[in-house]
Amino acid sequence: MIILDDNRWTLPTSLVSATSEATALPAVMTQHPERTAVWRSLTQSGVQALDCDLGSVMSLDTVAVANAKLIMGGTLVLQNRGTGSTPGSAVTVLTIDDLDDETLAVLETFPAISARHVRLLWTNPSSLLDYAECGAIGLGPGFVPVDDPQWGFPMNRLDPSVLTSAPDGQATVTQRRQFASGEWDLRWNTTADLDRLRQWYRRVGTSTPFFASFYEVLDWTSLYMRLTGQRGLTGLAQGIFDVAITWEETR
């Protein structure tokens, strides 16, 4: 399990720009917590990119995106543009997997890099006239709790659609977006892990969405989500703690 508990992309000190942007859908929209509030490039035949100046050199090993639209036939690539005060040449870090059809999100880890300038590149191998789009981005050092609940975590998928019936039973369904929800029960946390979980809960609470993946190998376990309830904390033994938190996928 990986929690992107400290998103560097959305820090107030991170400056985001794009190769091009529609007037009402600027690059800064990717820093909004609303996943549907998207950056959209202009419709062009070249590549498109989002650049982020993190303000200082940071260690990064996890990237995640939600509600992204690739250019037809292209891919999404994370690039390192150096540690200087101005961006340097781009070095590809990894090609990010396609978003999962159900969660509309993907989370990837990579060997840690030090970077101040990073780029998300939408490739356009066929030079098609198309646009790129992205709703939310996560970038930072991922947190892997000691106790990994990848085996046995409860994860329910809910459909809040509304059904109206006719006298004979025929139904009209007003569809609403499905979402996953559940509860983490992180057992056997050390004091160090507990401190990080406590800091994270204080920082994001129930207000700020974040990325997490229950099992990185399975794309459908990568979610853009928010905490929905209280943080339960149980001291099991001296220096060992159980943390329980409820969560819900953002829609």
Binding site: T23, A24, E34, T36, V38, L42, T164
Partner: protein, 712 residues
């Protein structure tokens, strides 16, 4: 790369192109085809697969639309809300010298306390006091055009040229209208006329939403709209605090709110142009707290609450006014009438005011008559006895013999040349209510002029509300709708429409079809209490004496079978022709006098979302209270319709049958239609109404025409 031309396979036009966007799947109707045709489809499928593997988009020419969305039983409906408040502008700086163009910062994004970048709020208009400025496309054009503006979205700057060249800061009020985009779900739509690439509709609509409720409040007449209620949006992000602040620059009172409906179905998304405007309302009040922002809304039909005539007569305008006239109102007049003019100047031999020159002129003064105290009437001669000022709406007596001290004056006059329902309603809306051409469904007015050519005489001498002039059941008060079985209403886009029931279902007009499985609730109501056996029409009022002419229509079948001699509400009309009045009496008795179905319903889906009060639908429902035990495409009129958008779109209301019209699409025979049954085509026979004789025969020599008619 080769660009393939469009080609066709049995009518399905497939367009292959190097283009934009994610491939979409065309709707897949069930189709049974022979083996050879199936092979061609398979070949096409393979071709499409090949194109897509090469990265070439392949799209269907099918455009997702609201009708298909509402007909599809599984759909994601999305309601959009477009708020159009204004921002007060002050602190302009001159751009040029001598100054004509002024600039003021006007950002495209309203700062948000939490979200980076802010909320998009394009400028959609600029108003100087009560005058809307004209939008132009450059700063240079602003300098060249008085009363213009240009919003530089990229530069966040607004350029203005006032109507007088003076600084905008010298005017009482300068405001820029902006648009905020909200929705029940976050969605980017390409809104025509706004930023290329799309506009984001914030997913802030929650909880309560406004509803529209339109109903006929007076039998078949008087659409009463209570559109409004409360619109709620989230405010946990605290955006609305600053834009609602009383000490801020935002103005909300009486600003527009538009609701639109669209959505997604079968993996397809309705484009913005396909969204249906549900209602346009006005903001009455705003408030917000830690969790919610709310707008109290009201319908725009309040403009019909004002009264006519509007100009009182006092010495300030007429220094020598007759004391008996002082305080009365200058009449408003359409068509021809005989009336007693108002003595507004007693000097000389007297000047009489016939109508209000601020709003109209006279078409003709046909006759001026002096009425002596003993009742003797003397026709006067133009020039010798009186002069006429058609533009000033006055006559001046020049022969002292007929001075006010000696005689009274009566005039036979035509005021405004507009004499039909459609023309008069349109003039009242535009002249007195400020309704613009763009606010009218002009086609409906043209159709109504054809459907209701009856000549009216509408002379308003004492104050009545426009609502009352349009429709009232009050005795002695004629009304326009009752004169011609008309309706005045606003459609969901806010356009004013008129409709005449002489065309209940115009030929070629599509009708919404509803069946049992389209209803969630279907409850027939009682129908006997409203039956009546006669209708009385009052017409041709003598404006001198106040006396009415009357005509009546009787329905003996109702009288005997329902054992009632009750008369329906009398119709007080502006009609002047006895034949027109008799026709109206017959028609009203026919469609309103007998037993009528009345059904309260709630729709399962939303097929009636575009329908208005007065529209008809073809309803099939079983079981139902008919002699056959069911409705089979029964033509029913909507006498009330309520529309809500959240938490799910829902339509409810009341259907009512039009009694004698039966289960037909139906229209009165137009004047140019054959009036002889023998000369009519089968279509005309099924479409039009015909008079029958006392035996119930349309053609007295043809027994087969018995009971094909509807009144005796």
């Amino acid at each position: 790369m080769r660009l393939y031309p469009p080609f066709s396979v049995y009518g399905e036009r497939i367009v292959v192109f190097q283009g934009v966007g994610t491939p979409v799947a065309a709707p897949a109707p069930t189709l049974t085809v022979d083996r050879r045709l199936y092979a061609r489809f398979e070949a096409l499928r393979s071709l499409v697969t090949d194109f897509r593997s090469l990265g070439i988009p392949v799209a269907s020419s099918y455009v997702p639309n609201l009708a298909d969305l509402l007909a599809w039983p599984v759909r994601e409906t999305i309601a959009l809300v477009e708020l159009e408040p204004s921002v007060t502008l002050s602190g302009f700086l001159a751009v040029d010298s001598p100054a004509t163009t002024y600039q003021i910062p006007c950002p495209a994004f309203e700062p948000h306390p939490i979200y980076p970048g802010g909320v998009y709020r394009p400028v959609i208009g600029v108003r100087e006091n009560a005058t809307d400025l004209v939008g132009v496309s450059s700063v240079l054009a602003v300098g060249a055009t008085q009363g213009s503006y240009f919003w530089d979205a990229a530069g966040d700057m607004l350029y203005v040229h006032s109507t007088t060249d003076a600084s905008p800061d010298t005017f009482a009020a300068y405001q820029a209208f902006v648009r905020l985009h909200l929705a029940t779900t976050g969605i980017v739509l390409n809104r025509t006329g706004e930023a290329a690439g799309g506009v984001y509709f914030w997913p802030w609509i929650t909880g309560q939403s406004p509803a529209t409720d339109d109903a006929l409040s007076d039998d078949l007449f008087a659409v009463k709209s209570t559109a409004g209620g409360t619109l709620q949006a989230t405010n946990g992000h605290e955006f609305w605090y600053r834009v609602f602040a009383p000490d801020g620059v935002w103005n909300w009172k009486n600003k527009s709110v538009r609701l639109l409906l669209g959505g997604r179905y079968r993996g397809l998304e309705v484009p913005y142009s396909g969204y249906l405007p549900l209602a346009t309302m006005l903001v009455d009040d705003v408030a917000c707290d830690d969790t919610l922002a709310s707008w109290t809304l009201k319908p725009p039909v309040g403009i019909l609450d004002q009264s006519l005539p509007v100009t009182p007569l006092f010495e300030s305008a007429w220094p020598n006014i007759d004391p008996n006239v002082r305080g009365q109102y200058a009449p408003i007049g359409y068509g021809r009438t005989t009336m007693t003019p108002l003595l507004v100047d007693t000097s000389g031999s007297g000047t009489y005011l016939i109508a209000d020159p601020a709003f109209q002129s006279l078409s003709a003064v046909h006759q001026v008559t002096a009425v002596a105290s003993d009742g003797t009437r003397t026709g006067l001669t133009l020039t010798t006895d009186y002069t006429v000022d058609l533009a000033g709406c006055t006559i001046t007596i020049v022969n002292p013999t007929y001075a006010p001290s000696a005689t009274g004056i009566v005039v036979d006059v035509t005021g405004s040349p507009l004499v039909t329902f459609a023309g008069i309603v349109r003039d009242i809306l535009q002249t007195f209510c400020g309704v613009r051409n763009a606010d009218l469904d002009v086609a409906s007015f043209m159709q109504a002029a054809t459907d209701a050519p009856e000549e009216l005489s509408v002379w308003l001498t004492s104050q009545r509300t426009i609502n009352s002039i349009l429709a009232t059941s009050e005795a002695e008060q004629p009304s326009l709708e009752r004169s011609v079985l008309g309706l005045v209403r606003q459609n969901s886009a806010g356009l004013w429409q008129v409709r005449i029931r002489s065309a209940v279902q115009s030929p070629g007009t599509s009708t919404v079809e509803l069946a049992t499985d389209d209803f969630a609730v279907f409850t027939p109501e009682s129908t006997l209490a409203s039956a009546f056996a006669s209708t009385t029409v009052f017409f041709g009022q003598d404006t001198e004496s106040g006396a009415w002419q009357t005509t009546q229509a009787f329905d003996d079948a109702t009288r005997y079978l329902q054992e009632t001699t009750d008369g329906g509400n009398p119709l007080y009309t502006f009609l002047i022709d006895a034949g027109d009045a008799q026709t109206l009496a017959q028609r009203y008795q026919l469609i309103a006098g007998g037993k009528r179905h009345s059904i309260t319903f709630t729709e399962r889906g939303a097929l009636l979302y575009a329908s208005l009060v007065g529209d008809v639908a073809a309803v099939s429902f079983a079981p139902a209270p008919t002699s056959s035990g069911m409705f089979e495409a029964e033509t029913l009129e909507l006498s009330e319709i309520r529309k809500t958008i959240a938490p799910i779109p829902q339509i409810s209301g009341v259907f009512r049958s039009l009694h004698g019209l039966g289960n037909k699409g139906w229209a009165w025979a137009p004047d140019d239609a054959p009036d002889d049954w023998d000369d009519c085509s089968d279509t005309e026979r099924s479409l039009y109404g015909f008079w029958a004789d006392d035996s119930g025969l349309i053609d007295s020599g043809d027994g087969a025409t018995a009971n094909l008619k509807v009144w005796a």
